[in-house]
């Protein structure tokens, strides 16, 4: 059992889920289908995988400034990741969670962790506390 401490970017519910570490930067708009939570960009290495219910590890975001809208829609449709872990804070994406909170929707926790740690988490079951402690089993 390995334990890691991440910074809490935005508070949210504790999570217990499988980690999906993206291996390339992603544009949520055009990259993730808000109706299914599936990575829809055929040029993305994790194309076809579902972000819903996962501990989603995002090394870098690119592209459209509509990422927040896709994330809000995922939250609204109960298809959001269980937690979002970023290499660095990203206002464009995380606005989706800030607004979700304003709208009264239950929101996943957002954390910051160095992306060098992402690979060892991939596909593992990860428990995340509300204080940002990750426990990998």
């Amino acid at each position: 059992m390995v334990s890691l401490q991440a910074d809490v970017l935005l508070p949210g519910a504790a999570a217990s889920a499988t980690a999906l570490a993206l291996t390339a930067p992603i544009s949520f708009w055009g990259g993730v289908d808000p109706k299914t939570g599936v990575i829809a960009d055929p040029r993305h290495p994790e194309n076809g995988q579902r972000v819903s219910g996962k501990v989603l590890l995002v090394p870098e975001t690119v592209g459209s400034s509509s990422a927040a809208a896709i994330l809000l829609e995922l939250v609204h449709g109960k298809r959001a990741p269980a937690a979002i872990v970023l290499h660095e804070p990203d206002a464009i994406l995380l606005l989706g969670l800030i607004v979700a909170k304003e709208m009264g929707y239950p929101t996943p926790i957002a954390l910051r962790l160095d992306r060098e740690r992402f690979a060892e988490l991939h596909d593992r079951h990860v428990q995340i506390s509300t204080t940002g402690r990750l426990t990998i089993s």
Binding site: D41, V62, I92, A100
Partner: protein
């Protein structure tokens, strides 16, 4: 609620204060699902109004009636409600991703809050106004509160180029063509990520529409919010000024080989024997680009449609001069207020191929429309639409 959203973002990004802004460009009125409509209507219900000039980016519906979409009834209704809500908040019905060519040009050095990745990069780089990459919701929250968190590209020290992007080794004739700039934008966006670069080694001064295409492609391939072109863009009279007098952290010398590779990445359907449609106008076409389209078309009848996306500011001119009818009778479908990758306008067709001169359409069309893409110049796009088969002429490769 708007002020809370701005303040929470400031906290998240470590901004120490909020600064007043002079204008906003709002990307939030494009329907992605019901949640965005409900958010906008919540603001309207609370009596919110924009406190600064706020232009609107594209919506999901062509309100001018030039083109039709295939949105199902529920989505159509919610998209319409969303566009109406943003109008009620006091935003201008510009409905374009090229607001900077529709009379909204913030002055050099002014603080603004702009959304939509190409609009952001143009505003920062070509106009020299200062904005971060505002996303949905924060853009309207800033327009209502007339404030923005003071961090990132709002601050002088963060506008410094750290990477020199030297294009002096690239074929000079190719660089002067409209074909080259989305290719360069794709390469730049992938290589630079979220850093700021200064392009050097150009033997000419690039004009506005090619900088528009470059910025849009770079911002879709990477997290580009600002670029400099030595001798062209306002914060880069020369390389040293763009670097703020500090040595560059990296110098990238672009080769013809790198350009060839980048050009290849703009197509997903290399060995196509036919095309099903052409799409141009991402960012929205300027009147000059329509003039070029008409010159290349020479009144010929098209075998497959050219979807030409633009804003009302250009549509008005096309109608005034009788060009809209002329283009439509050739088989051009003018799309206003929206575009073909944000709403279903292209017919559903298995294995269909879309040709485009837009690096941004090339990036988004495969996932958003299901069409494979073929990249070419404006003139190659026109010749291909006339014959229904890919025609590549003047490309150097």
């Amino acid at each position: 609620m708007a002020m809370r959203i701005v303040a929470e973002t400031a906290r998240l990004m470590g901004a120490e204060r909020l600064i007043p802004i002079e204008s906003a460009h709002i990307d939030g009125a494009l329907y992605h699902g019901d949640s965005g409509t409900l958010f906008a209507e919540r603001l309207v219900a609370g009596g919110a109004k924009t406190a600064v000039r706020a232009t609107l980016n594209v919506g999901a519906i062509d309100l001018t009636g030039c083109s039709r979409n295939r949105l199902p009834p529920h989505e159509l209704e919610m998209a319409k409600r969303m566009m109406t809500a943003y109008q009620r908040l006091g935003c201008e019905s510009t409905w374009t991703c090229a607001p900077y060519q529709a009379g909204h040009r913030p002055k050099f050095g002014s603080q603004v809050a702009w959304g939509e990745s190409n609009a952001v990069v143009f505003c920062n780089s070509v106009l020299g106004a200062r904005t971060n990459r505002y996303g949905d919701f924060l853009d309207i929250a800033c327009a209502i509160s007339a404030r923005a968190p003071d961090y990132g590209l709002h601050r002088t020290e963060n506008r410094r180029a750290t990477v020199v992007f030297d294009v002096s080794q690239v074929d000079a004739k190719f660089l002067k063509s409209d074909l080259a700039w989305p290719v360069l934008g794709n390469l730049y966006g992938r290589v630079i990520g979220d850093a700021i670069g200064v392009i050097t080694g150009l033997a000419f001064r690039p004009w506005e529409d090619i900088l528009k295409g470059f910025g849009a492609t770079a911002a879709s391939a990477g997290s580009v919010g600002l670029f400099h072109v030595a001798g062209t863009t306002p914060e880069a009279p020369d390389e040293a000024t763009a670097l703020h007098g500090v040595p560059a952290a990296a110098r990238i010398v672009v080769t013809n080989e790198m350009m060839r590779d980048a050009q290849g990445r703009l197509s997903t359907a290399d060995r196509a024997d036919h095309i099903d449609a052409v799409a141009i106008g991402s960012p929205h076409l300027s009147i000059e680009e329509f003039d070029l389209l008409r010159r290349l078309l020479k009144g010929r009848r098209l075998a497959v449609p050219i979807y030409a996306c633009t804003g009302r500011h250009v549509l008005r001119l096309l109608e005034r001069d009788g060009h809209r009818q002329q283009l439509e009778s050739s088989g051009v479908v003018i799309v206003a207020d929206t575009c073909v990758v944000v709403t279903p306008i292209l017919p559903e067709k298995a294995g269909a191929i879309l040709m485009t001169n837009s690096g941004k359409f090339s990036h988004y069309a495969p996932s958003n429309t299901g069409y494979a893409v073929l990249y070419g110049s404006m003139s190659e796009c026109v010749e291909s639409a006339v014959t229904g088969k890919p025609v590549f002429g003047a490309s150097m490769w």
